[in-house]
């Protein structure tokens, strides 16, 4: 597989993600998620930790590159993993502070978006495996799948905790 193909593939993924985010942004423009002051504070903290995680990933890449420990592809991999970890940190911190995508307002649509993302990122690697080909960059899609599964698990845990909290309040 030529390097142009790989570059085009990564560029395609990035552009695809951008288009999805832009579509979601346009769809939510009329009804923007409303966060209260505690949720805004929690999101700011989540952003800080996500930023630090991403910086940590880039720092590892910098060290690996300067020490020539990893080749170019491996550094790209570490960089991508750092960004995915950063996204996981942001999602988990906001989920556990009830400050992510209005958790209680539209849980079905949130889960739907995550499941669509999960399916979309499974189609390419599974399709290529069924065709007997192994795409070297398919691990990116699998890593995104892992990220989405972690987010969904955290979402489920938080939903269970909130349900228990609601029960406790109704008992009081």
């Amino acid at each position: 597989m030529s390097s142009e193909y790989k570059l085009g593939f990564v560029l395609g993924v990035v552009i695809g993600l951008f288009l999805v985010m832009a579509t979601i942004g346009i769809m939510n423009r009329k009804k923007k998620w409303q966060y209260d002051e505690r949720q805004k504070l929690a999101r700011a903290k989540a952003m800080k930790w996500a930023y630090l995680t991403a910086v940590g990933g880039f720092f590892i890449c910098l060290i690996a590159d300067s020490a020539e420990l990893l080749n170019h592809e491996q550094i790209m991999g570490v960089m991508t993993a750092g960004m995915l970890c950063s996204a996981i940190v942001f999602a988990c911190v906001t989920i556990h502070n009830d400050a992510w995508m209005a958790l209680n307002e539209k849980p079905k649509s949130v889960i739907g978006i995550l499941l669509i993302g999960l399916a979309a990122n499974l189609i390419l690697p599974l399709g290529s495996l069924m065709m007997g080909e192994v795409i070297s960059t398919m691990w990116i899609n699998l890593a995104v799948c892992v990220m989405l599964v972690i987010i969904l698990i955290n979402y489920g845990i938080r939903r269970a905790v909130l349900r228990r909290g609601n029960d406790e309040e109704s008992e009081a």
Binding site: D36, R38, Q39
Partner: protein, 64 residues
């Protein structure tokens, strides 16, 4: 430290956490966090809570 004054004032008004949250435009979890003492609200939110419960700041948030 738990804010039992807020909890009892809310109960006296016969409001659930969700109802109080809807009245002042915050999430139920925020009211829960204030009552548990996990979150210190800003003065604006304190005033909104006091107005919703017909109490003064001292009555709900002042610790002797």
């Amino acid at each position: 430290m738990k804010n039992l004054k807020l909890k009892s004032a809310r109960a006296a008004k016969d409001l659930s956490q969700q109802q109080l949250a809807d009245l002042i435009g915050v999430s139920r979890q925020t009211i829960s966090a204030i009552e548990k003492g996990d979150y210190n609200p800003t003065i604006n939110l304190c005033i909104a809570i006091c107005r919703a419960l017909d109490k003064t700041l001292d009555e709900l948030f002042w610790e002797d």
